[in-house]
């Protein structure tokens, strides 16, 4: 019984943390909240019977990607706190529109989810790393290759964009 409680508790933490991320003033605080949210989600993965995914989430997502984030923010001073005065708009102007739109979207999704599915419970069972590995290099072999090209594209584009900004303008 307690496992379900832990799952819901972790989900709540993730939710609150991501709300703090979105509404945060300071970039670094927001990033740290993001890490907390990712860890909470990793806990959910584990509880859902996907230990490998949980491990990946912690190591790759929280560990590598967000660290890259923090590194970039620190290195290139992307704080954005020295923004021009125009930035401070009234609360309603910035938030009312998006919240209203997203609220309707959320209502629609919940309506769909609530009466759209047969309530088939997740039978307890763990999909271990071994099973994932077999599937990864079995039918999904090509997916891995293409994912690598995806990363290559990200690498080259990132390199090209950032290349010039450090050495000043290059005619």
């Amino acid at each position: 019984m307690t496992l379900e409680w832990i799952f819901y508790f972790a989900a709540a933490i993730a939710f609150v943390a991501s709300v703090k991320v979105v509404t945060g003033e300071n970039a670094i605080h927001a990033l740290l909240y993001l890490v907390v949210s990712l860890l909470a989600v990793a806990m959910c993965f584990y509880l859902l019977g996907a230990p490998f995914a949980a491990g990946l989430e912690v190591i790759v997502y929280a560990g590598a990607i967000l660290v890259l984030f923090v590194f970039a923010v620190m290195m290139f001073d992307l704080q954005g706190d020295r923004q021009p005065a125009v930035f401070q708009q009234s609360w309603s102007a910035t938030w009312l529109g998006p919240v209203a739109l997203t609220f309707t979207l959320a209502i629609l999704l919940t309506y769909i989810l609530l009466n759209g599915t047969f309530d088939k419970g997740i039978e307890p069972g763990i999909v271990g790393a071994k099973q994932v590995g077999i599937a990864l290099y079995g039918p999904y072999l090509l997916a891995v290759e293409i994912a690598s090209f995806l990363l290559l594209a990200g690498l080259i584009a990132g390199y090209h964009f950032a290349k010039y900004s450090t050495q000043g303008e290059h005619r």
């Binding site: 769909i112 759209g116 999904y140 090509l142 997916a143 293409i146 090209f149 594209a153 080259i156 964009f161």
Partner: protein
């Protein structure tokens, strides 16, 4: 992976090999000309690799990809468009001082992404193809630092395509949650009792596709990105990404027999009508040719997806044929105009030369180029003597066969509105030439080589030839509907 499967996806393998070789080439010797030459030869090789691939068609290569005649035709189209893109960007970038070789890598990556997208038969492949295409296009859009709009266009495209792809992923998750399998063909058996969750998932996936095809509710990014991007990238955006997206949309729509659900059918027709009207309306008083082509592409994609709103199984073959013919004609016409524009603008200029009022009296100074442009515009407008008319005529037959009266009236009103801005450009070209004012006249700018003119001429000849004798091509595009049905039954026995 047995040998036939390797042969089936030989072109894609060659492309991947080419990308890796490119990286080695860059490491070895950074010269603009060699990298361009290498890219061209790689694409040509991939094109020729299609010939053996044609022999063992209808083959599932790992559950992710499925090779059939339809996809191979579209891939040939995509590769030829990218060939033109590479050759045009070579001319475009050559004038820049420093060496642009990452550009060609990104270009090949985009082409690879498009090919995978066309061949995909599984959500994972669709997602990967979609993302590979999008990210490499972001890289190319933001390529020229010096431009003022590059950053803005790149950012917009990145953020919006990321949002769209996450919506699509959410949809895929819902569908996976509802049906338990992510391959396209598998959807058919579960189709009938797909509850609301599955349908919602399908709709969310459609959002991703509509975003890339720039159909109405999701079209807002198109004009800004077309204008911000360098000219060859706009050409890629308008041709390669549209063709790939159309192919996967057709497979997604027909293979998983979504047309049986009339609610999805109704949504599709609404989107089509909206994009026909909004696309044409937006373009009415547009001075910038790139933005105008963006808006007209919204309208043309609106015309195109009428092909999908079919009522019955046996009209699939004719719908496919009309769809492919129409997109081919649309791409040729856009290519002609964009080749001319690329020829006329340079990489290191502040902006591309894209104000069509500068074309005044072009036909009297450069008769050949002027008439090519006029014929291309006429083809876009759907006037006889050009292939555009035959394409539109095929669309009319499909729409009437499936009694889509709303779509037909929107088509008529839309092409009525479209005539206004196409004609105003044509009349501008035919008007008296301006006395040479201070800025250099249009036909002296950029490095418009003879090869540009010859390719434009060839494409225009194709337009007129297809306009007068559509049978020379139309008879080849016979995708018997059984090919599509083969996807149905074969793929469902798993691999």
């Amino acid at each position: 992976m047995i040998v036939e499967q390797f042969i089936a996806i030989a072109p894609q393998l060659l492309l991947s090999l080419a990308i890796v070789m490119q990286l080695l080439l860059i490491a070895f010797k950074r010269s603009q000309h060699s990298i361009a030459f290498f890219t061209v030869s790689a694409i040509l090789l991939a094109l020729f690799a299609h010939y053996p691939a044609m022999t063992n068609v209808n083959l599932a290569v790992t559950p992710l990809l499925y090779v059939d005649v339809f996809s191979l035709t579209i891939n040939v189209l995509i590769l030829s468009c990218s060939l033109v893109a590479v050759w045009v960007s070579y001319g475009y970038l050559r004038s820049a001082v420093e060496c642009h070789d990452e550009y060609y890598v990104l270009l090949l990556l985009a082409v690879l992404g498009a090919n995978i997208l066309v061949l995909s038969n599984h959500f994972a492949a669709i997602f990967l193809g979609f993302e590979l295409l999008s990210l490499s296009l972001v890289g190319m859009i933001g390529y020229l630092h010096l431009r003022e709009h590059t950053l803005e266009a790149g950012f917009k495209y990145l953020i919006l395509s990321a949002t769209a792809s996450s919506i699509m992923l959410l949809g895929m998750a819902f569908v996976y949650g509802a049906t338990g399998d992510m391959s396209l063909a598998y959807q058919v058996p579960q189709q009938q009792d797909l509850q609301l969750l599955g349908q919602a998932g399908l709709v969310l996936i459609m959002v991703g596709f509509c975003f890339k095809l720039s159909l109405v509710p999701f079209h807002t990014w198109t004009p800004d990105v077309y204008q911000g991007a360098p000219m060859p990238v706009t050409l890629m955006l308008a041709t390669v990404s549209k063709a790939a997206m159309f192919a996967i949309f057709v497979k997604f729509w027909l293979v998983s027999a979504i047309f049986n659900q009339d609610s999805m059918q109704f949504l599709l027709v609404c989107i089509a009508i909206a994009s026909m009207l909004v696309g044409n309306l937006l373009a009415l008083t547009q001075q910038n040719i790139k933005r105008l082509l963006a808006y007209s592409s919204i309208a043309h994609m609106g015309y195109l997806i009428i092909v999908l709103a079919i009522q019955s199984q046996q009209s699939v073959a004719w719908a496919l044929k009309s769809g492919v013919f129409y997109i081919l004609v649309y791409i040729i016409a856009t290519l002609v105009i964009m080749i001319y524009l690329s020829g006329r603008s340079k990489a290191h200029a502040i902006t591309d030369n894209d104000d069509w009022r500068g074309w005044q009296g072009l036909i009297w100074q450069r008769p050949l180029q002027g008439s090519c442009l006029i014929l291309a515009l006429l083809s876009l407008a759907g006037i006889p003597l050009t292939a555009g008319f035959i394409g539109k005529f095929y669309l009319f037959t499909v729409a009437i066969e499936n009694q889509l009266w709303g779509a037909i009236s929107a088509l008529i009103i839309g092409s009525g509105i479209a005539l206004y801005y196409y004609l105003s450009i044509i009349f501008c070209i035919l008007a008296k030439p301006l006395e040479t004012t201070s800025q250099t006249p249009i036909d002296k700018v950029g490095n418009f080589t003879v090869s540009h003119a010859t390719v434009m001429g060839m494409l225009t000849v194709i337009i007129v030839a297809l306009g007068l004798f559509p049978d020379i091509l139309a008879s080849q595009l016979i995708f018997q509907s059984e090919q599509v049905t083969i996807i149905f039954n074969e793929a469902s026995q798993r691999f």
